[in-house]
Symmetry: C2
Subunit: 414 residues, 2 copies
């Protein structure tokens, strides 16, 4: 084992951190170490003032005129263009709309239509459940000719074959933090004549993503995790230029129409990515998302990634140095190329331990059956926070205080 | 013609208006007469403070914990229960989610599944376009065995026949203000073995609706018009108890799962209305919607309806008394039982006239090809406003100032 890491070493890392100043752009409650930004990102300082302006001036003062004068009508594409810069997409290839689940329905329907001779949607059983549920709902609706085939993560590559219509994967696993090799799997899918659909829920704003470089066919992602868009923020959908004209998605609402304000009775899809819009979008929530993305765009994603890996390495090493003997198993891969921006530990008492941590203001979360999940968000976390989080964890373990806390704490379900 | 109506008579009406005090619950810009609350409702005074609290305290301060401690997880059903009281539904029959278009997709899929031997979706060509677009998208996805059959409004009743799977109508027409007889058409649909799906976009909060009394099978509606929920507010969906267990809708995201936080790979729909949820909901926008509905619930919908009819009668009579000779044709029915809460006039120069009105702070809107649309929202409009609006219209007509204004005003597309 390496020499014990000291708190002073962590504070020294903070002093030379090129991202250190970003913490000032967030509102964070005193004393809280927030390791759940992968579930709900923290509040950017600019958001409250911006939303107040949207509500009082744009809505209250200018009323219906703000659809034009405040640019509400352009929000989905404007914010989409900003997200495109974070995920290696071109302008006009991303639009913000609806939820991740609904956007998946749109592109999964597109993928099946574009690969009509094949029936299999290939995914993994440990994919985030809503992705699997949406696939099941679409298959049921289409009449069950299609099949959702599930293979463990490490068998996916070899399971892509001539039956595969589309490979549907979340790049970073929500429960383990394991990251797929996007380039290799996309290439394999194409070799086998399959399309590749990536869910970037735990990637966008957390790891560098280069969709067009790897040749991804479709992608979706979440606004309320690393993009700090606020609770239930709208999601995004990516369709590259080469696929946009080929298919008109089935949630064909008026905002995806070529001419929404001519009020024709017949649907005519808009040119380009706008056809992936459906109904009128939630302007307040989308305006908050824009604040989160604007904050994110000021940082270099490569610096974010470097800090994330240093932080997760530090957390792992501190846990191994200081929490040995408590049967905490590392679930997240050690290999940097296979790790997202979280560290997961398993323990049969994981639920109670996490409740005890939360009671001590170290906020991570728990995922059934036994996983303690810690998310690392380099924009607002300090190396000193990592040290302090493990320090509080050590105290909980040494005093077995989680054994009492479980009776005192109200169940936390999210 | 009746004796000319004076401004003083209108001010007298305001003095005895039992809803007069509600105007104080809204933020309205000085000097503006807002006749477009049927497109985007005005800002309730409580909304800005409430949203600031949701953002700074619930999100910023309590972070992920607010899904439980602030009740975010219950918002769709809690707000749904409140809307139920406005539309004659029972508790647990309405949920707030997504957009009107997306909710229509869910219930239209349900209706086709519950009436599997029939192929026809019956609607009118002048229905709000997104409803027709969604029907076309669903039919395309299902493989085109189904047919969208369009008949003019006054032929709908007689067109319901043994081929009709579902009748899909918007109760109050967005362009004309014409209102269908919900009771008679629903009864006719049931006589013929068809299901009845109502879009309440221009009804909820504007006219009394009693879904269970008329036996409606499905309904959807909009949060940002008469419910004053803010731009792009989430929409709602109604499914009566008797239909809830029969079908699991295809947008089967995790929030509609029986146990979303057990993270099973297999979709199992929630009991009851919750299965009409899909993904994570936009908490900020939904919190604003709740403020609008809370404001609406303080008023008696029958008083709202009575004032709406008095106001629209007044507007019609004033236009006929004072704007005669300008070829303004009344598009909205005079019969109260066939009129929603708007008055529409047609004129070949309607677009320019509306621009001139807006330039004089009388905000209505224009619908192609030739319709000037004026919405009346009894909670925040005064009879004096109606008189003043017509007075400014008279000035525009007499001076032909719309003829110049068209060159000065920037096009308004919504």
């Amino acid at each position: 084992m390496n020499k014990p890491i000291t708190r002073e070493q962590c504070l020294t890392l903070d002093k030379s951190d090129p991202l250190a100043s970003f913490r000032d752009q967030f509102e964070l409650p005193d004393g809280v170490i927030y390791l759940d930004g992968n579930s709900l990102g923290a509040l950017p300082k600019k958001t409250a003032a911006r939303l107040n302006d949207v509500i009082t001036r744009e809505w209250g003062g200018d009323l219906i005129r703000s659809w034009n004068t405040a640019g509400w009508i352009d929000l989905p594409r404007r914010v989409g263009d900003k997200i495109a810069r974070l995920i290696g997409a071109d302008a006009a290839e991303v639009v913000v709309a609806d939820s991740t689940s609904i956007n998946l329905f749109k592109v999964l329907a597109a993928a099946l239509k574009l690969n009509p001779s094949r029936q299999v949607i290939l995914s993994e059983p440990d994919n985030f459940p809503t992705d699997l549920y949406i696939a099941q709902g679409l298959i049921d609706l289409l009449g069950k000719e299609h099949e959702l085939r599930l293979k463990p993560a490490d068998e996916i590559f070899d399971s892509i074959d001539a039956d595969t219509a589309v490979v549907m994967l979340t790049q970073v696993n929500y429960r383990t933090g394991r990251m797929h090799d996007m380039k290799a799997i996309t290439a394999r899918a194409h070799e086998q004549g399959a399309l590749m659909l990536w869910d970037l829920a735990h990637s966008a704003g957390a790891v560098p993503v280069d969709l067009n470089s790897v040749g991804a066919d479709f992608a979706i992602g979440c606004g309320y995790k690393y993009l700090n868009g606020g609770p239930g923020a709208p999601a995004f959908v990516f369709v590259p230029q080469r696929h946009q004209a080929k298919f008109s998605q089935p949630l064909s609402g008026w905002m995806g129409h070529a001419h929404p304000f001519t009020f024709d009775w017949k649907y005519e899809p808009a040119e380009g990515i706008a056809r992936y819009l459906c109904g009128t979008q939630a302007v307040l929530s989308m305006s908050a998302l824009e604040c989160g993305i604007d904050t994110m765009l000021e940082a270099d994603i490569n610096l974010i990634r470097a800090k994330s890996l240093t932080m997760t390495d530090l957390f792992i090493e501190l846990v191994e140095q200081r929490c040995a003997g408590y049967d905490l198993k590392l679930v997240t891969p050690r290999d940097h190329s296979m790790r997202g921006s979280q560290v997961c530990l398993s323990n049969v008492n994981g639920y109670s331990m996490m409740q005890a941590l939360i009671a001590r203001n170290v906020i991570g979360d728990f995922r059934a059956p036994d996983i303690l999940r810690f998310g690392f968000t380099p924009l607002y976390l300090r190396y000193g926070d990592v040290w302090d989080a493990v320090d509080r964890f050590v105290e909980i373990l040494e005093t077995r205080s989680w054994d009492r806390d479980v009776h005192k704490q109200k169940a936390k379900v999210t």
